[in-house]
């Protein structure tokens, strides 16, 4: 078997030589037109690399490897094919980068949109609360106005009630023309027209009532008993009525609202044959006319 082993080794040598020769035939070594074949793939890779969107894009790694593989190809046909694939990989990396950039941008915009929505909602709420504040303060103002008016009305009512009470104390009586009040003889000095101090309160009540009721005018009429001449009595009654009129004017009532008239002895309300009756006849009647009634 020694001889056989020698022959076997020879065979192995022959086989190795044969394979080397075959490899040389097929392998060809360098590709002379390499730069022309790889130009597009190299340009595409350079372009992809320069694009800021492809930073951190995984497909760039594939593109790099594909280009390297093409650079190392041993024959023109294979190199042309691998260059095509490498160019595609670079273009894919750019497209992927653009997609990711657009998605990132969209996410940022979603946040912007939410911000805009929140801002708008906040503005709405602020506007509503301003409106509410304004309405509240308006309501508060209205309420205080209303309360003030109520208070004023109450005050007026109580004043009116008080005045009516005071007038009632003057023993007024209601007639067709208005309310008739009688100031008695005791409020004047005998035979004179000057009002005594006791009359002041009564005149004050009448003046206050007239101030409260600016549409009501007043008629002042003087009366006497039948003692003395009729002419004297007419004069005295006129002077006494004038006295009352002046007192009212002094209390702030416009003169054109007051008419004073001397009636004399002819409109007695009691008998002149007794002292009591005569005293009743000596009087001044103040008629507070009904609302709107004209003086005559």
């Amino acid at each position: 078997m020694m001889i056989n082993t020698g022959i076997h080794q020879t065979f192995i040598k022959t086989l190795a030589f044969t394979m080397t020769v075959s490899g040389l035939i097929v392998g060809c070594g360098g590709v002379p037109e390499k730069d022309i074949i790889l130009k597009d793939a190299r340009d595409a890779y350079a372009e992809a690399k320069a694009n800021p969107d492809t930073t951190n894009v995984e497909a760039m790694y594939d593109a790099k490897k594909a280009l390297e593989k093409a650079e190392q190809a041993q024959d023109a046909e294979k190199m042309t094919h691998l260059a095509y694939l490498a160019q595609r990989q670079s273009q894919i990396a750019v497209a992927v980068g653009k997609r990711k950039a657009a998605e990132t941008q969209r996410q940022r915009l979603v946040k912007d949109k939410n911000r805009v929505l929140i801002d708008a909602r906040e503005r709405q709420v602020a506007a509503k609360s301003r409106e509410l504040e304004m309405a509240t303060s308006q309501a508060r103002r209205t309420r205080s106005q209303l309360l003030a008016e109520q208070a004023k009305t109450q005050q007026l009512q109580s004043q009116t009630q008080q005045l009516q009470k005071q007038l009632a104390e003057l023993k007024g009586r209601q007639t067709a023309r208005g309310l008739v009040l009688t100031l008695g003889d005791v409020l004047f000095e005998t035979g004179k027209a000057n009002l005594l101090s006791g009359a002041t309160r009564n005149i004050g009540s009448v003046a206050a009532f007239l101030r409260q009721n600016p549409n009501r005018n007043v008629l002042v009429e003087g009366h006497t008993d039948n003692r003395g001449s009729e002419e004297y009595n007419l004069g005295l009654s006129q002077r006494r009525a004038d006295s009352v009129r002046f007192a009212l004017i002094r209390s702030g009532i416009a003169s054109n609202r007051i008419l004073a008239r001397g009636i004399g002895e002819n409109r007695s309300i009691a008998s002149n044959s007794t002292e009591t009756g005569r005293q009743q006849n000596r009087r001044v009647e103040i008629t507070i006319l009904n609302e709107g009634e004209i003086l005559r």
Binding site: I3, N4, G6, I7, H8, T10, F11, T14, L15, T18, M19, S22, G23, V26, H81, Y84, L85, R88, Q89, Q91, I92, A95, V96, K98, R99, A102, E103, Q105, R106, L109, V110, D112, K113, V116, L117, D119, A120, R123
Partner: protein, 125 residues
């Protein structure tokens, strides 16, 4: 060593040489690249689902052409060529799909920007 044995070994090296040439050499011993063709077909159909016909019409056409060429090459038993065409078709389709996706994303961002603009105008009224 007998001459007979030497002769046998010499003759044996002929088929070995032929086999080596076939293994290293140019094509026809490669199996039909059916997997690569199937991958390319799937990539094309994915790209079409992603509206690549509208956004990357040239690339999708190239993918379809290269796929057809790959299939024709298989028919002609040019399996090495078929492999090249199938690989090209796969990357053509992948690029078409990527372009369509990037365009869709760009449009979504634009729509979002427009909706914000509309919203701003509405709320500033």
């Amino acid at each position: 060593m007998t001459t007979k044995t030497i002769a046998i070994y010499s003759w044996m090296s002929v088929p070995v040489l032929a086999g080596t040439l076939l293994m290293t050499g140019c094509g026809n011993a490669v199996k039909p690249p059916t997997d690569k063709v199937a991958n390319a077909e799937m990539a094309i159909s994915r790209a079409q689902d992603g509206n690549a016909k509208a956004y990357a019409p040239i690339e999708i056409r190239q993918a379809e052409d290269n796929l057809q060429k790959a299939k024709a090459a298989i028919q002609a038993e040019e399996n090495e060529q078929a492999k090249y065409f199938a690989e090209k078709a796969l990357l053509d389709a992948t690029l078409a799909e990527s372009k369509a996706e990037s365009e869709t994303a760009r449009q979504a961002a634009t729509e979002m920007r427009e909706s914000i603009e509309t919203l701003r105008q509405e709320t500033n009224r």
